[in-house]
Subunit: 479 residues, 2 copies
């Protein structure tokens, strides 16, 4: 009873108001809090721990593929941002501007980095001379600032945490391979760590990154049928190289421009976890990314032996590599259950005096509420490991089924509109390749092109102009 | 020959120009580079890897002692910084000021954090209600900006990387214990990871942190006899608590103010490593913090079996937990030796055709140039582990002996001046406790009070005013 009481009071139902449900989960699961500056959020310990789990996985993958971490300055001179025309057009309007340093007015305004291409380019131009210096495979973990009018926790913030990789290569082919390699690592991170199946593909000219030749994306589908761009990988060709004079002496003794990539993923991934897996009781965390995988809740903890046993189980499981906590607070068990649920902890173990007698414990699965009994013996940790692996697979398959059910073919704008009005999700349509038609679709339906399917050949005609289709594109309403 | 040639060309000798030697090492060891904004440096892969090693060690120690990581906004409203009078007086003059966001002038100026006490206080005031919510033990890893006029890589920058811990407690005693605990962790980090013996003590009123009741410090002694403040731990009492209304309902049902601490250590620690251990051939890294502990350099690498054996040794050592690289570039061995030396890699293994025949390799110790021969068998990794442990101890003892030799008692200003003019280092003097006398010493000798020795009772008289001494203070010229 206590349990239900807490649940019902705590958060809005997803189907009543999805946006409110989302912010309720963000705050009640203590992932974040607002600061007094609009759009700048506080990453509370639980939210930051989630980000640390993602960082640890991605950082390992980056290093395994030869990347090195660096740290570039937070501030960019205005003149430096202006060196690449498309880039400055895209970013200048949303920069925070430093005009004073200490007590002095600055001679040149400095911009808080909205992204760091220009800084990497300037540095690379200085340090590369020969083909021997290539490739350079750098990454940095930092926060960036973009002055957004409408902000939402993790999804769109004036400041957000991310990683940005910036690489330069001797050949176009190497740079193109790098772009795909990092897209692949993003997709695997989503699948293997977050249990999220991603739609991957290429952005249209209109939607690509400011200054890139090509942008590839991973897109996740939220419970409300809207898409969330969750990571992008860009191929720059030699555009920035020419603007920043990044040249090297090749083996054939010729001076050549480098080929370049950049790729980024951010705390938006936290938003994806919340909106793909969460339910009306709160967060539901995929086991591999959960900061706490098992919460042990003692029942009648004042009774002899209960707490000792709880700690003993914690030690056993921790030794086997699991992340385990015991809730020894003076709250009621029902309250503790609800809190563990709100925080999306994959497994809850209940242990009370009767369990001690029977040498067993109760295990509850967050994902579906299933309960099972397990024997307290040396097998317990392998039972838990297996359960967590199964839960990961279960969550991934559930999300995949949802994505498949919400991917629909359409050939006309009427069909598109009907699908958007009913189930939402991705609408797969032929498109002529003209930006005017892409804009017309957006204006009429509020659906944007998420990506071009690069694996299939286009058939049919553009639903707007009737011309022959050049691409098959996924449209969706998006965050 | 190649070896010596590279060395001599590469860097200034320490005894010729210590300041130039320092920046030479920073750049030639590729720890950092300058950006186009004064005081904002680029942490290159090798420098950042060093910082990551320090982060990993300290983060583990913080978490073991119950601390949680969070992330606070980068920007602070001007009005928020002003809430604590001493604090704003100390920091406002050196803040970078954001006056424009996107295309709009801001209604209130925002300051890039020079430190985040005010943000933590504002958040804590919102989230704590009861003694059950205490203590809160938060830490964050981030960069901060302080508009310094004179900057030097790692030592004093307009932007630097650091961690800042901010904790609140129900009682004064708990907060005081926390202040000492974190000072202890800093001291241990220096000793166990960096092989640096620290002088620890309490700052005078004049030198303490803006807003603190007490500041404790770890001070390292550089090769040139100057001190480097390397980490500080502050006890705030309830000063910020009153300014920010951080109250909680205690067990006795009374509303009380919390007691607070903060503590920070930064990339200055890289400066300490360089200036304590470095020599005329470049960096000398303590083994536990070295990103690469062993560099294997193949001799006549084109000869059959040489590279295979080099990779085999790498695999064997890596499996035993060591950080090992093979230099397979097309440079000459002499050049590779000099590079490994410049980068301070603790051990170099040379392996050539003759070594293959004899089933052995040559090992060179960076710290003193000693060479020894080791047999290529399953014992090799334990030989290397033992060597690295010995090197750590050797480096620590050498630095400790230097510190002891450069700690001198003085009772008059003339003695102080003589010591400063000859060997430098710490000068231990009685002091009356008056700021006027402390300032007089600084004005006359350019030596500042580094810290008060809290372990000994003062005897003697103040060398300036002749009054009875209240404290024994360590004076030194400092960075």
């Amino acid at each position: 009873m206590a349990n239900n009481k807490v649940k019902n009071e705590a958060i809005t139902s997803r189907d009543v108001d999805f946006a409110k449900w989302y912010t309720d989960v963000c705050r009640k699961a203590e992932l974040m809090d607002y600061s007094s500056v609009k759009g700048f959020i506080i990453y509370r310990p639980y939210g930051y721990a989630l980000w640390e789990m993602i960082q640890a996985y991605m950082d390992r993958r980056f290093k395994e593929t030869g990347h090195e971490n660096v740290y570039m300055p937070m501030l960019i001179p205005e003149s430096l941002l202006k060196k690449e025309a498309d880039h400055v057009e895209g970013f200048a309007p949303e920069c925070a501007v430093v005009t004073r340093g200490g007590l002095d007015q600055l001679e040149e305004n400095l911009l808080i980095r909205p992204t760091s291409e220009t800084l990497f380019c300037e540095h690379y131009a200085k340090i590369i001379n020969s083909y021997r210096d290539l490739p350079k495979l750098y990454n940095q973990w930092c926060s960036v600032v973009r002055w957004e009018k409408t902000t939402r926790p993790f999804l769109r913030g004036a400041e957000f945490l991310w990683q940005e990789g910036h690489t330069i290569h001797a050949t176009e082919q190497e740079a193109r391979e790098e772009t795909q390699r990092m897209l692949g690592i993003y997709e695997e991170t989503a699948r293997e760590l977050l249990a999220i199946p991603m739609l991957t593909g290429k952005k249209t000219e209109k939607e690509k990154f400011a200054g890139a030749e090509e942008t590839y994306t991973i897109e996740a589908l939220m419970h409300d049928g809207k898409a969330l761009q969750s990571g992008t990988s860009h191929y720059f060709g030699d555009g920035f190289a020419k603007a920043f004079d990044m040249k090297f002496l090749d083996k054939d003794n010729q001076l050549k421009y480098v080929y370049q990539t950049s790729w980024g993923a951010s705390t938006r991934l936290l938003g994806a976890i919340i909106m793909v897996h969460g339910d009306d009781n709160g967060l539901v965390l995929p086991p591999r990314v959960a900061p706490t995988q098992v919460m042990i809740i003692p029942i009648q903890q004042q009774k002899e032996g209960v707490l000792d046993k709880a700690y003993e189980i914690q030690e056993q499981l921790t030794k086997s590599g699991l992340r385990v906590k015991v809730d020894v607070s003076d709250k009621s068990p029902g309250w503790k259950f609800a809190e563990a649920e709100m925080r999306g902890i994959p497994l809850r173990i209940e242990i009370g005096p009767r369990d001690l007698q029977n040498q067993q414990c109760m295990i509850a699965k967050r994902v579906n509420g299933e309960k099972l009994t397990a024997t307290l013996d040396e097998q317990l940790s392998s039972v838990i490991h297996q359960l967590l692996d199964d839960i990961h697979e279960e969550m991934y398959q559930k999300a995949l089924a949802f994505k498949n059910e919400h991917t629909t073919d359409a050939t006309t704008l009427e069909e598109l509109q009907t699908i958007l009005d009913t189930k939402g999700g991705y609408i797969k349509m032929p498109w002529c390749g003209d930006e005017a038609c892409e804009v017309a679709i957006k204006d009429k339906t509020a659906a944007t092109s998420r990506c071009i399917d690069t694996h299939i050949k286009a058939t049919g005609v553009c639903p707007v102009c009737g011309k022959e289709a050049k691409h098959i594109v996924y449209f969706a309403r998006a965050y």
